[in-house]
Amino acid sequence: MDDFYRENILDHYRYPRHKGHLEDPDIHYHDVNPFCGDEITLELKVEDDRIVEAAFDGKGCAISQASASMLTEELVGMTLEEVRQLNKDYIIDLLGIPIGPVRLKCALLPLKVLKAGVWGLEEWPE
């Protein structure tokens, strides 16, 4: 129990960082998890191939929302090329919990939306 709903996950879920919308985002992307219907919208402002602002909106479980919150925190300052390198393990490390293949899809939804929005990669990160 404690493992899965660690305090920091619940904390990001309760008080999500970067939740909301940007004015005139350079990148705006939205997608759903087909297996459960959860949704994430991601907005970015980019300067010189570097992310300068990030925001997300969405509805879903603690895992997907905490993942979005944690990810957007990391995004600011990242280059688009760095975004391309982000993978499944990056998110697992960020969350810091053991996670099976079904819940993993929840956790990866924000990253999927990010990579689709930035690079047109329409697949679940591997």
Binding site: M1, F4, Y5, L10, R14, F35, C36, G37, D38, E39, K59, G60, C61, A62, I63, S64, R103, C106
Partner: protein, 419 residues
């Protein structure tokens, strides 16, 4: 196959404790707690008799069916066709020719939509389904309407989670060529009056397609009494193996339909210039079928018959009534769908604003397996303005104690998410 005789024969009335002994998977612990499996609506567990019958089939009689004259092939063919007879009797179909083996309910409904639909639907025609359908009874009709130019209409549901019969009277009319509906909703638990809906369809000249995925495993089914034209269901939800399902179809309609999948077994003669089709039911079974799975399904039906479908229905009614009472008392929990008297053995609910995934994960940590999500029925969830729900479902092997375990686990979830 001696494995096909359930151990229940001696007991005049089965008890859940006896039944549970036949289900090896239920003996395990999950996260240190005895497993409470409340997800049979998604897929049921299998008694050891079913598992052993398939094992035995592979160890003693496997071969390809229908076209081999050696001993194993004759034996495999007999086993496969005996399973078809068993299925026919189980739903009181007049003939084995009306029993088509598919992969699952989904394939059965697609077969009807593609084969019957492509031959019979045209622009101006209407296909009527309901807002409480599983995606399997929505998407095939969306696809075939796009192909044929027919129009798809939906019977809305009432706030109580039942069909809106006033709207139905308007929507079902002489333009309607097919009325397809579920016998039991996998989200709301609503049991629809199948015979009455079939009669209504027939009254306007439409055929009636029944999604029996949730009804056949739980309620005694008689296709002749229901007068259904088609009935689709899945083995894996009724104690049988994965990989096989059934489509019952009325003989006259099946005979008039073009084939669906082409290949071995479904043909009469193949010439370079064209082919002709085999008799029923083979016309609709292309390629090597799921033989071991048919054997498993046949033994699952033996098991259900031995326990008794009436016993099963009554057993589920009692658990559901009890669970309803208990869940009602949990503050912030709202059950979707009708009262216990008008529903089958499942309860979907929302619980404050805790996301169903989180509820299910927390329950799982306490050994309680429930399903969370849209349960392949997004339109119902849209109807209630939610994107997901949590569902606990009951079957032959569940007990009242397990309901208590569910309730206790829900209180835990509340504690974790109470902020």
């Amino acid at each position: 196959m001696t494995a096909s005789t359930p151990t229940l024969q001696v007991a005049p009335m089965p008890t859940v404790a006896e039944i549970r002994k036949d289900f090896p998977i239920l003996q395990q612990e999950v996260h240190g707690h005895p497993l409470v499996y409340l997800d049979s609506t998604a897929s049921s567990q299998k008694p050891v008799q079913v598992i052993e019958a398939m094992d035995e089939y592979y160890r003693t009689i496997h071969a390809n069916v229908h076209r081999g004259v050696h001993t194993l092939s004759e034996a495999a063919t007999t086993a496969y066709e005996d399973a078809r007879l068993k299925v026919a009797r189980f739903i009181n179909a007049p003939s084995t020719k009306e029993i088509i083996f598919t992969r699952n309910t989904t394939e059965g409904l697609n077969l009807v939509a593609y084969s019957w639909g492509r031959a019979n639907l045209k622009p101006g025609d209407e296909v009527l389904i309901t807002e409480m359908e599983h995606h399997s009874n929505i998407v095939p009709w969306q696809l075939i309407c796009e192909i044929t130019g027919a129009t798809l209409r939906y019977v809305p549901i009432t706030p109580r989670g039942e069909l809106d019969y006033d709207a139905l009277s308007q929507l079902l009319n002489e333009k309607t060529k097919v009325f397809a509906f579920t016998a039991m909703s996998n989200v709301l638990g609503t049991i629809n009056p199948v015979a009455e809906l079939v009669a209504r369809a027939h009254a306007v000249g439409a055929i009636a397609v029944v999604d029996g995925a949730q009804s056949v495993p739980h309620l005694k089914t008689d296709v002749q009494a229901l007068d259904a034209d088609f009935l689709a269901f899945s083995s894996h939800k009724m104690l049988g193996p994965t990989g096989i399902g059934v489509l019952y179809g009325r003989k006259e309609i099946l005979q008039a339909m073009p084939p669906f999948l082409g290949g071995g077994d479904m043909i009469r003669e193949v010439k370079l210039s064209g082919s002709s089709w085999n008799d029923l039911p083979y016309k609709f079974e292309a390629g090597t079928p799921a033989i071991a799975e048919a054997v498993g399904l046949s033994v699952a039906i033996d098991y259900l018959n031995q326990v008794g479908m009436d016993w099963i229905t009554e057993h589920e009614r009692q658990i559901t009534a009890y669970a309803w009472e208990q869940l009602q008392q949990i503050e912030g929990l709202r059950i979707l769908g009708p009262d216990p008297e008008r529903r089958g053995g499942l309860l979907s609910f929302i619980f404050g604003d805790i996301h169903p995934h989180d509820i299910a994960s927390i329950l799982d940590m306490q050994g309680v397996a429930v399903r969370a999500g849209h349960h392949c029925a997004q339109p119902i969830h849209d109807h209630y303005g939610i994107s997901a729900s949590t569902r606990a479902s009951f079957y032959i092997y569940n007990s009242l104690d397990e309901v208590d375990r569910l309730v206790a686990a829900l209180h835990q979830a509340k504690d974790i998410f109470s902020f």
